[in-house]
Symmetry: C2
Subunit: 202 residues, 2 copies
């Protein structure tokens, strides 16, 4: 059986990763969203075990000491991370995993798991990103400027990824990512084999 793909969808803050993820999961039901571990409080609509699993800072720190994370980060005082074991078990079982993650996390995965497929979601223009970041309406001018500056720095890291998809229309972006997954499954360097040469056994 072929191992599953680890598909990392990442990009600057505000680019619309979450929306594209949902659209992609609808297009490709065999793809499974990877669950992150976090120490922040669940939001009212969140239930444990879907996108996030919730834990305490002390348990999180123990897991860090035990080198249990494929990637982890502290964002606004809360820990977020992806456990190696959960990812490894899913991939070994042949499940394709989707990881929606910030740029720092994606670059940790680049270093640790060469076979991950890294997709950078880019805004159609800097102006569009600005609009999306300020349009949320929940943040003041100082925060917006800070997020925009961070987004600019994150954009500069795109060249460390494998693929770049522009998030103009959500449907188009999700379709392109779906095509990337389909193509990666046909890559001979990933083990695609002609059935006639006994490849089905691998």
């Amino acid at each position: 059986m072929a191992a599953g793909l680890l598909v990392v969808l990442s990009g600057p803050s505000g680019v619309g990763k979450g929306t594209v993820c949902r659209q992609l999961l609808a297009l490709r039901p065999s793809l499974q969203l990877s669950v992150s571990l976090t120490t922040r409080q669940p939001r009212p609509e969140e239930t444990c075990g879907r996108h996030y699993e919730f834990t305490t800072p002390s348990r999180f720190q123990k897991l860090i000491s035990g080198d249990a994370f494929l990637e982890w980060a502290v964002v606004y005082g809360h820990y977020y991370g992806t456990l190696k074991q959960a990812v490894g078990e899913n991939l070994a079982r042949g499940t394709d995993l989707l990881l929606e993650i910030d740029v720092q996390g994606a670059l940790q995965i680049r270093r640790r798991l060469k076979e991950a497929v890294l997709i950078f979601l880019a805004p159609p223009s800097m102006e569009a990103l600005k609009e999306r970041i300020s349009g949320r309406g929940t943040e003041d001018a100082v925060r917006i400027r800070r997020r925009l500056k961070a987004a600019q720095q994150e954009l500069a890291a795109y060249h460390l990824y494998d693929y770049l998809v522009v998030n103009g229309r959500v449907e188009d972006a999700a379709a392109s990512i779906d095509a990337i997954i389909e193509a990666e499954k046909c890559r001979i360097s990933r083990g695609a084999r002609p059935p006639a040469s006994g490849g089905e056994e691998r």
Copy 2:
């Protein structure tokens, strides 16, 4: 402007390259079929300039001496080849080109044009290939055995390609190749850039 892709669709004799090509061209009208030059006689339904351009052996040999071919071969006494200039002009213009070609020709392109996307079309099984080769009804047992033996040797070359697509259902094979083209256009190593960083100019 981004350069066009050279997509090489190849695989063993009898695997159904022509049928998959036609289906793919219907799916992706921007893809242009590359025209080969040949010294064989046109078949009744063939017109010059679509799939083949017809020429004389002496002109073909002059072009060989002038190193004008990206690949060429002699098959059953007739010359077949792809001219460098025609391919180069189309790619420079941003046109994506589809080249339907035998395994020997594809491997010549592998050596000469690293950026070509090589797709190996494989039969769903050796039995299916046997059926397709004998099912044409136009050939005797000796010829069928010869073609089957050649097909087995050609199958063994799959690992020199970038992608492998199994031709079970024609529609599925064409859709996978369409996805591969879509994905290759998103590859950062091919020059995909975020619009916000001025990448549209390249």
